[in-house]
């Protein structure tokens, strides 16, 4: 009976930690988190953590609407069923794993301009500069874009 009680206590405590994320409270927050403006200045991406991985979501577009006033959608997506998805709020970066020294690898990035998904690595050059390298297969076949951190005036 005592054994079962002990287990239930540990189980409930672990559940609380896992579901609230409190277990990670002592882990320093990754410097990659935050809002970044892409090199062209056309979009801002919010990078966030989910589980042990990092992803990014488009949270601002310089031109959020088409000339007819309708919100921009993912019209270049190769999957026709997803072409009505709004670009604002779209998760365009997934699967990044922190590798230390400001490097994040094993992720992918989606370019709504042409509907292509690339392998991707990101690296913090400094606290406010992020180098995002999209590539095909091997890093040599790729292109690097430089993103700048932006700070929200009203959080």
């Amino acid at each position: 009976m005592m054994k079962t009680y002990t287990f239930v206590s540990i189980f409930l405590f672990c559940s609380f930690l896992l579901l609230t994320g409190k277990a990670g409270e002592n882990i320093p927050e990754s410097k990659i988190l935050g809002v970044w403006e892409v090199g062209s200045g056309k979009a801002r991406v919010k990078i966030f953590q989910y589980g042990q991985k990092f992803g990014g979501r488009i949270v601002w577009l310089k031109e959020p609407k088409y000339p007819d006033g309708t919100p921009k959608i993912d019209k270049n997506n190769p999957d026709e069923t997803k072409r009505q998805v709004p670009l604002l709020g779209f998760m365009n970066m997934t699967g990044f794993v922190e590798k230390g020294s400001g490097k994040y690898e094993e992720g992918t990035i989606y370019d709504p301009e042409n509907g292509s998904t690339y392998n991707c690595t990101v690296e913090l050059v400094d606290d406010n500069t992020l180098e995002v390298r999209g590539f095909i297969g091997v890093s040599l076949f790729g292109r690097t874009d430089t993103w700048k951190r932006v700070l929200l005036k009203n959080k």
């Binding site: 989910y50 709004p86 690339y118 292109r143």
Partner: protein
């Protein structure tokens, strides 16, 4: 105890499942307007090497070039009198590869190689002139290595330095070109990026594109219209194209390219021991007005179809490699030839950069 362990595992799996991207694909209910009002964190910015909407950079290209029938009137060369010959066709494979070896915010280093061949098929009849014989047997080939550095200074100003070593001649695939016969080209451009859709620059180039060594000013101009439907991609005097973007995967171009080099004709000389001059080069240059259609076949694999006219404005034999200054006295060519103009077509398959 097994049941208890299983419960813990299921809980951990549930936590993992919550973290999967699929569950995050649905946009959160969030007021996105707050992301419009921002301040930039203090940091130095640099301009990039491209403008919005520009055609994708080609990493690897495999092309087949085919030209229609024309004629070559080879001028008198020492004891050989002039001779006119019909060329049934002129064709060859081309290959190039460009690798962005270093690519970061502060600078970009691109290394590349290229191979180009011109095979000539002549009409019937024996040919006596050494140039005709050499072209029939060997054609022309080029092997090149190049390096390009793009160096931004800040958000507006940048420089481009480009160098290339080429081995051109009536080489067979077995011939090993001599390093001393490499044709060295180089360019330096200083430029400004006015905004995301316009970059322009001016500089100086040492080049063989016109068939012989020249020092010429160069102008870089890459522009995309506000609607991103059309633009200009130019590096004068080498090439210039109007671009019409049908969509992100289909582009149309109209413009021209200057093509050519100076070819060392070692095999021609070896096949004719009676020639007094043992140091003969062919100055070949052509202007190619053309239209192109580039489209994405599958993801990063693009096909380029082009058709145009080949204006052969230089095809002379000359002695060695030297700078024929426009301001100096007139130096005659070793042999004056006339290659007539004709149409051409080219198809290429390309791996393009993201």
């Amino acid at each position: 105890m097994r049941i208890q362990t299983a419960i813990v595992c299921l809980l951990l799996l549930a936590k993992g499942a919550l973290a999967q991207p699929d569950s995050l694909l649905i946009p959160p209910e969030e007021d996105f307007s707050k992301y419009a009002d921002v301040v930039e964190a203090p940091t130095k910015r640099y301009c990039t090497s491209k403008v919005l909407g520009i055609s994708p950079s080609r990493l690897i290209t495999l092309a087949y070039d085919f030209q229609g029938s024309n004629s070559l009137n080879a001028g008198a060369l020492e004891q050989f009198s002039s001779e006119k010959a019909a060329i049934t066709n002129n064709h060859g494979m081309r290959f190039s590869a460009n690798f962005p070896v270093i690519s970061n915010v502060r600078w970009l280093l691109n290394l590349g190689i290229n191979y180009l061949e011109n095979k000539y098929t002549f009409g019937g009849g024996a040919r006596q002139h050494p140039l005709h014989q050499s072209l029939m047997q060997n054609g022309l080939r080029s092997y090149g290595f190049n390096a390009t550095v793009f160096k931004p200074f800040n958000e507006k100003y940048f420089s481009i330095i480009q160098g290339m070593a080429e081995f051109n001649g009536d080489l067979s695939l077995k011939d090993v070109p001599s390093l001393t016969q490499a044709k060295i080209s180089a360019s330096f451009i200083l430029g400004r990026k006015y905004h995301d859709r316009l970059m322009a620059g001016i500089g100086l180039s040492r080049a063989y594109r016109g068939g012989e060594l020249i020092y010429v000013p160069v102008v870089l101009y890459n522009y995309t219209s506000p609607g991103k439907k059309w633009g200009i991609e130019a590096l004068l005097p080498v090439r210039a194209h109007f671009r019409y973007t049908v969509n992100a995967r289909n582009m149309l171009f109209a413009g021209f390219e200057l093509e050519g080099s100076s070819y060392r004709l070692n095999n021609l000389v070896q096949a004719h021991p009676g020639l007094i001059n043992r140091n003969i080069e062919l100055r070949r240059a052509e202007l190619r007005p053309r239209v192109m259609y580039d489209f994405s076949l599958y993801k990063f694999i693009w096909i380029s179809l082009q058709a145009g006219y080949r204006i052969n404005f230089r095809y002379q034999l000359d002695e060695g490699d030297f700078y024929r200054s426009s301001f100096g006295k007139e130096i005659p060519y070793l042999s004056e030839n006339k290659l007539s103009n004709t149409w051409y077509g080219q198809i290429s398959i390309n791996l393009v950069s993201p």
